[in-house]
Symmetry: D2
Subunit: 342 residues, 4 copies
C-alpha cells in the first residue's frame, strides 16, 4: 500500500505522517505540497522536528499519484481540497480528507460557516462523513474525516440523542481545546505570552464545526433544533474536553447503560464506570475517546464529559480508522498507541 499525503507541514499532517510510518499495511509514503509551489523540499527543512528526514515534498501531481499510489490523504486548510480534489473524485480514486470542505452536504451552509466557495454539489453527494464509530467507509471513495470538536461532541451525544434520552432543546456544549487545534498559523491568541496562564473564549456559537454536528444530530433525531456551543482556548497543546449538559428524565443507571451498550464493541471509545469522569491525560497520545456520565437528579441534568486527543481521534487517528475501514484492514491497525504518562 502506497499512501500520498498532502499537507505534512500542518499539525494534523505531521501526526498523520507519523501514524502512516508505523502502519503495518503501508509500504511507502509520498509527500506532496500545493501544485503552485514547484519547489521540491526535504521534510526536515519544512518541519525541523523531523530530524534527518530527507523525504521530499513534491508539488502535487494527480497523474503521478493515481499511477503510483493507492490512496491520498488531504491534511490541508479549508478551501484547498475543494481546489485540488476534483481529478481524484472524477476518477473515484480513494481520498481521505481531513479538512472541512466536504463534510457538509449543503453548499449554502458551507459558505455561511466557512466564508468560502463550496465544492460542487455532485462532489458533495459522493462524500462520506467518516465518524468512524457510526459509519463504515467501505465502498466510499471520498471520505470526509470529521472535525475534532465534532468528534468529541458527537460521541458524547450519540446515545442521548439516538435513544431520545434528553430534551432535544436543552443541549449545551462547553468545549475546551489546546492550542494545537488552532494550527500552526501565528496569531496573537496563541502567542505564548497571551495563552499561558490564561483562558480565552472564541467563536462562541460561531465555530465552523457546529453545522457538521447539527447535520449528524438531525440524522439521529430531527427534533434537535440547535445546540449552544462554547469554545475555549486552553493553555495546553494537545487535547479537547467537552462538558456536555442536557435535561433528562432518565435515571443515572439508564444513562450509563445507554452509553455502555452503544460503545460495547468499539475499540476506541471507553465508557468509564459510573461515578468516574475522564481527564485529558488519559487520552493524549492515543486514539481513544473517553466518556464519563454524571446525572444530577436535583436539576434533572445529565453531564457527559468527552475527551480526545484532537490531533489523533480528532484528526489523524480517525483518518487511519477510515483508511482501515475502506481497505478492510483491522480496525486497530496502526493505532495501538500509548498515552503520554505522565
Amino acid at each position: 500500500m502506497n499512501a500520498a499525503l498532502v499537507g505534512v507541514t500542518g499539525y494534523s499532517g505531521m501526526v498523520l505522517y507519523q501514524l502512516l510510518q508505523q502502519h503495518p499495511e503501508v509500504a511507502a509514503i509520498r509527500l506532496f505540497g500545493h501544485p503552485d509551489n514547484s519547489q521540491v523540499q526535504p521534510l526536515v527543512e519544512a518541519v525541523p522536528n523531523f530530524i534527518g528526514d530527507q523525504t521530499l515534498i513534491e508539488p502535487l501531481d494527480p497523474a503521478v499519484i493515481m499511477a503510483e499510489c493507492d490512496v491520498i490523504f488531504f491534511a490541508t486548510s479549508a478551501g484547498v481540497t475543494t481546489e485540488l480534489a476534483t481529478p481524484f473524485i472524477a476518477a473515484n480514486f480513494p481520498v481521505i480528507d481531513l479538512s472541512g470542505d466536504y463534510r457538509l452536504l449543503d453548499p449554502t451552509t458551507f459558505t455561511k460557516w466557512y466564508h468560502k466557495p463550496a465544492p460542487a454539489v455532485s462532489a458533495l453527494q459522493q462524500s462520506h462523513y467518516g465518524l468512524a464509530e457510526f459509519a463504515n467507509a467501505a465502498g466510499h471513495s471520498y471520505i470526509a474525516n470529521p472535525g475534532c470538536y465534532a468528534t468529541a461532541t458527537l460521541l458524547g451525544l450519540a446515545p442521548l440523542v439516538q435513544q431520545h434520552l434528553i430534551d432535544p432543546t436543552s443541549i449545551i456544549v462547553d468545549a475546551k481545546s489546546g492550542t494545537s487545534g488552532a494550527g500552526k498559523k501565528l496569531a496573537t491568541s496563541t502567542h505564548f505570552s497571551q495563552t499561558d496562564e490564561n483562558l480565552q473564549l472564541y467563536k462562541v456559537n460561531r465555530h465552523q464545526h457546529i453545522p457538521e454536528i447539527m447535520q449528524q444530530l438531525k440524522i439521529w433525531d430531527d427534533n434537535v433544533p440547535a445546540i449552544q456551543f462554547t469554545t475555549t482556548l486552553l493553555p495546553i497543546v494537545r487535547g479537547i474536553m467537552d462538558t456536555i449538559y442536557a435535561k433528562s428524565e432518565a435515571t443515572a443507571e439508564q444513562l450509563q447503560a445507554a452509553f455502555t451498550a452503544t460503545y460495547a464493541d468499539q475499540p476506541f471509545v471507553r465508557v468509564l464506570p459510573a461515578g468516574q469522569l475522564p481527564t485529558l491525560k488519559e487520552v493524549v497520545g492515543t486514539n481513544f475517546c473517553d466518556l464519563g456520565i454524571s446525572y444530577n437528579p436535583v436539576t434533572h441534568t445529565v453531564l457527559v464529559v468527552s475527551v480526545i486527543d484532537n490531533l489523533l481521534k480528532g484528526a489523524a487517528g480517525q483518518a487511519i480508522q477510515n483508511f482501515n475501514q475502506y481497505f478492510g484492514f483491522a480496525a486497530t491497525a496502526g493505532l495501538q498507541l500509548a498515552a503520554l504518562m505522565p
Copy 2:
C-alpha cells in the same frame, strides 16, 4: 489601625498580608498561628518567598489581640475559625473571616457540605455574608467573606436572578479554577506532573461553595430550585472563569442593559461592552470581576462569562473591601492593583 492576621502561611493569608502591607490605613500587622502551636517563628521561615521578612508568627492570644489590635482576619482552613473565633464574637470584636465556617446560616447545611461541626446558631445569626457589591459590612462585627467560586458565580448571576430575566430552573455553571484555589496542601491532583497539560473535574455538584450560592440566590429569587455546578482544575495557578448558561426570553440588549445598570457604580465589577467576553489575564493580579454577556437567540440561552483572581476578588481582595466598608475607608483603598501583563 493595627490588624491581626491568623493563617498567613496559606495562599489567601499570604496575599492578604501583602495587601495589608500596602493599605494606607494600616499602621501595623501582627501575625498569629494556631494557639496550640506555641512556637514563635519568623515569617520567612514559614513562607520562604517572603525573603528577609522576620515578622514573628505568634500563637493566637485573644486577649493580646483585643488589647492591641483593631481587627482580626482569619485566613484559616474550614473548622478553625469555629474553634477560635468565639471570644471575639462574644466581645463584638471585628472579625473578617475568609473561611467558610460562618457563611451558611443553617448549621445542618454546613455540616452536610463541610463534614464538620457547625458554629453555634447564635454566632451564625450575627454573621454578615460579605458579598461586597450587594451588602455593606458597616455595623457588622462578624463578616463572613464569600468563597471564590461563590463570588464569581453570584456576580455573574445577580442581574439575571434579581430581575427574573431567566428560567430559574435552567442555571448551569461550568466553573474552572487554577490550582491556587486548592491551597497549599500536597495532593496528587495538584502534583505538577498530573496537573500540567491536563484538565481534571472534581466535586461535580458537590463543591462546598454551592450552598452559599444557593442561600444567596434564594434571597434574590426564591424560585431558583438548584443549580448545576461543575468544577474543573486548570493547568494554571491563579484565576477562576465561570461560563454560566441559562434559558432566557429577554433580548441581548435587555440582558446587557441589566448588567450595565446593576454594576454602574461598582468600582470592582467591569461589564464589558456587548460582543466582548473577558479573558483571565485581564483580572489576574487585580480585585476586578469582569463580566461578558452573549445571548443566543436560536437556543434562547444567555451565556455569562465571569472571571476573577481567586485569591484577590475571590478571597483577600474582597476581605479588604469588607474591611474598608466596616471602617468607613474609601472603597478602593489598598486595592488599586495592576493586572499582570502579559
Copy 3:
C-alpha cells in the same frame, strides 16, 4: 510631574505605564506613538487588557512634549529612539530610554550587534548607562536603561569582577528567559504550541546584550576578555534566571561576604543567606534582583544564581529607579511591589 511615554503597546511600555500610574510623584501620563502614525487611538483599543482605559495615544510631537511634560520615556524597539530622540537630546530634555540604542558608546559595536545604524557619536557621549545600583542618574538628561539580561548578569558578576575574585577568562553565563523578553511580535519560537513543554536555545554568543555587559565589565576590570553567553527560551512568561560560573580561588565565606557588602545599602538587591539559591517566583512582580552564591571547592568554581522580573528590574522597574534618581525622589518611590504568590 507630567510624564510622556512612547511605546505603551509593547510589554515594557505596558508595565511602565502601570508603574507610572501608581507613582506618587506622577500627576499625569501622556501616551505617544510613532509620529508617522497620525491616528489617535484610545489605549484600550491598542491593548485590550487595559479594560476601559480611554487615554489617547497621540502621534509623537516633541514640541508639545517639551512644553507640557517633564520627562519622556521611550519603550520602543531598537532603532526607533535613534530616529526620534534627537530634538530631546538637543534640548537636554530628560529622556529615559528603555531601548538598546544609546547603551553602547562605540557606534561600530552597536551596528555589529544590532544590524542598524548607530546614533551620532556626540549623542552617545551624552548618554548615561543607568545600571541603577552602580551609577547615579542625577544630572544626566539622557539615561540609557540597561537590557534585561545585562541587568541580571551584571548584578550577578559585579562583586566578583570588581574585587578580582575570579579568573576573568573563565566566565560562563547560562541565561534563561520567559517569553515576555521576546516581546509581542509573533514568531514561531513563541507560538504556544512550540514553546510550551519545550526549551529552545537562541542567539548563543550572539545576543545583543553581550556588548553592553562587556562594556561595563571592562570598566570594572579591563582583564575580562570575553564571556560565554547562552540564552534559552523558557516555557514561562515572566522572569530571567542566570546561572553564572567562574573559577575562583576565594573561599565560600569570602565570596558571600563580597556580595553582602556590595549590596548592603541597595534596596532592590537581596543577597540570600549562604546555602540558599533563589527561585524565579520570589521576584516576579517585583523590582528585586535576588542573588545566591554557591562555591564548589572541588572544582574551584563559584556559581552565582541571579533572578529578576525581566519587565520590572529588567526594564520598567529600573527605568523608575533612574527616574527617581534623576529627579531626586526616594529610591523606592513607586516600586514597593508585591511578588506574585503563589
Copy 4:
C-alpha cells in the same frame, strides 16, 4: 519471551510497561509489587490512567518469576533492588535494574551519595553499567541501567573526554529536568502552584547521578578530576536538557567531526548539523538523544547541548536497549517511537 516488572506504579515503570506491551518479542508481562504488600491489585486501581487494564500486580515471588519468566525489570526506588535482587543474582537470572543501586562499583561511594546501605561487593562486581551506546549487555545477567541525567551528560561528553579534546578540569554541566524526573512522590517543589512559572535549583553538586558520571568519565580519561553539576527543575513534565561547557583548543570542525564519528552507527543518537542546537520537543516521546555542538573561538569554550526524554532514553527506553542487547534482538526493536508533535 515473558517479562516480569517490579514497580509499574512509578513513572519509569509505567512507561516501561507501555514499551513492553508494544515490544515484538514480548509475549506476556507479569507485574509485581513489594513482597511485603501481599494484596493483589488490578493495575487500573493502582494507576487510574491505565483505563480498563485489569492486569494484576502480585507480590514479588522470585521462585515464580524464575520459573515462569525470562527476565525481570526493577523500576523501583533506591534501596529496593538491593533488598530484593539477591536471589536473582545468585541464580544468574537476567535482571535489568532501572534503579541506582548497582551502578556504582564502590559501596562507600554509594552510601555517601544515596545515604543507604550498599549491595554486597560481590554482587556489585557482577553488575554491568548499561550505557547502551558504549557497552554491550550481552552476557551480563545483571544490568544496571544508567540514570537519566547520567545518560544525557555522558553522551554529551563522550567524544570530548575519550578523545581528549577538552581541558579535563573545566567541565561544567548546567542540567535541567522536567518534574517527571522527580517521580510521583508528593513534594512542595513539585506542587503545581510552586513549579509552574518558576525555576528551582536543587541538589547543586550533590545530585546522586554525579558519581556514576564520574565513574564512567574516569574510565574514559582518568585525568578528569571532577565536574561542576547544576540541576534545575523546569515547569514541564518530560525532558532533560544539558548545556555542557568546557575549554577546548580544538576547532569547531574537529569537534563536530568527533561527535559525528563517535555516533555514526548509533541508531538513537542524532548529532545535529553544525550550527544547529536541539530543542526538547524533538526528542520527547522518543528514545533519541539529540546533540548539538557550538564552539566559541573567542572564549575557547565548547558548548554541547544534549536532550533526551528522561523516562525513555533516560530510563525505560534505554532499559529496552539493554534488553535487546542481552537477548540479541534488533537494536531498535520496540523503540520506533514518534516524537510528540507539536
